[in-house]
Amino acid sequence: MMNLNAVFQYFTNGMDLGTFLQHLTNGISLGSLYALVAIGYTMVYGTLRLINFAHGDVFMMTTYFAFYGVSTFMLPWYVSFILAVILTGALGMLLEKGAYRPLRNAPKISIMISAIGASFLLENLAVVLFGGRPKAFPSVKVLTDSVQFGSVSIQKLTFVIPIVTIIFLFGLLYLLNHTKTGMAMRAVAKDYETAGIMGVNVNLTISQTFAIGSMLAAVGGIMWGLKFPQIAPLMGVMPGLKAFIAAVIGGIGNIKGAVIGGFILGIGEIMIVAFLPSLSGYRDAFAFVFLIVILLFKPTGITGEKIAEKV
């Protein structure tokens, strides 16, 4: 172990293996959160060709739902979390119905402006309803405890987050590829007019897409709240932006791409700070610089949405 560590330190500028692994697990769990939120962006984009700017704010709303469930309604944390996820799904559907559906046949710019408006609405609504002062997210001892690995102690949450993410990801892929609802979603995403001819209820399917995307963001939001237990009305902006960047980096419209993008961004962000502590002030800038580089050299993202050949 000593030797391995020495070799490792030689390559990593003095960082020992334990610390590195700690950073890596941190990066993976942050990346998982970005991935969960990014999936929502990519699903909505795939279906409506719309960047749902309110997605980050939907993510924020979840944390408040969970907060009030535990603090005001005195629900056990798991009940409150499940309710928060369901409520967020409903919020996503409401958002689609109120802000996007009436504009479905309008020029793309109108629906984009509507998305920005919806984002501001949710943020300010949160300020009015919940107050602008940050609140403490309920802590769940079972999840936030630390476990000891030799010399390093790691929060259980660091493992829970990627595991939960992977479970939901496989659930989503199963839904999309092996169920009728999923088939309808893929069909609507590709060509909603033809899907309608086949008898697919297009409005319902788009609603379901929003519900699922929002619920995944909700799961991400709750785990975000557990990891960084301070919630505020504007807390969704930065994670939302970064998840959006993750979706673009991975290739927007592609779910696997969103996940890959999320992990790259999460790990990259943590590693930059770990290896170049002097740049830690630029932590958030990393995502944006990376986005610019990707857009310059591979504008369709890493996986690149398949563009159907027109035969």
Partner: protein, 241 residues
């Protein structure tokens, strides 16, 4: 079976259909021929509920079709093979066929119908697991027809099934239309290839800038001088009636 009366459709300020009436009788092949932009596709799109007519009626077995929701039209036994095939490119052939049967729940019968489509189009069977986007144009057209058949329609509407296909394949497609028709399907066919369409049609309508200018049996229209001049002049495909 299907009756269109005084249908008037406008896109923005432009009138695509200026009050046309068409009747499709059960068991017949009815065709609409006409030039690009005459309004042929608009007729089919109105029937499917994809465009909202300004005025006019569409009734199907006496039922007002304009009041039926878009996704319920197929449940009434009407389906459309859209122009340009519109198969789902990143789904397999099999998935495309299953989508055609989206509103049906009788799994056993769906399986049987998939086999039936494969007997009609043996090429699709060979390519069952291939992504539809990788098929040739002709194969995609076969898939589009097969997908439409999967809903077990009583009225099959086809929008330019020969568009962009090689003459050999066009011939195949028309043979298949006849084959399907001989199994009892009512067909409403739109074609720029007027010659081929009129050869297989029982009834034909000539549509010009949103108006029906001629109606007759396929044979009558084929013999009509005006039709010959306007639509049959240079056709290279000869089909025996």
């Amino acid at each position: 079976m299907l009756k269109i009366e005084n249908l008037n459709v406008a896109y923005g300020g432009i009138e695509a259909l200026k009050g046309i009436s068409i009747e499709v009788e059960e068991g017949k092949i009815v065709t609409l021929v006409g030039a690009n932009g005459a309004g042929k596709s608009t007729v089919l799109r109105s029937i499917m509920g994809l465009v909202k007519p300004k005025t006019g009626n569409i009734t199907y077995h006496g039922k007002n079709l304009l009041a039926v929701k878009r996704h319920d039209i197929v449940k009434n036994g009407i389906t459309l093979v859209p122009e340009g095939r519109r198969v789902f490119p990143d789904m397999t052939v099999l998935e495309n066929l299953k989508l055609g049967a989206f509103t049906r729940k009788d799994q056993k019968e769906i399986k049987k119908d998939i086999d039936w489509v494969y007997t009609l189009f043996s090429r699709l069977k060979e390519r069952e697991w291939q992504l539809a986007g990788t098929l040739s144009g002709g194969e995609q057209q076969m898939l589009a027809v097969g997908r439409a058949l999967m809903s077990r329609p009583k009225l099959l509407m086809m929008d330019e099934p020969s568009l962009g296909l090689a003459p050999m394949i066009v011939k195949d497609i028309f043979n298949i239309i006849r084959e399907i028709h001989s199994q009892g399907m009512t067909i409403l066919l739109i074609e720029q290839n007027a010659n081929a369409a009129l050869h297989i049609a029982d009834v034909g309508y000539v549509i010009e800038t949103g108006l029906i200018t001629l109606k007759g049996t396929g044979k009558e229209l084929l013999a009509n001088e005006d039709v010959k001049k306007a639509y049959l002049g240079e056709s290279v495909i000869k089909l025996k009636a």
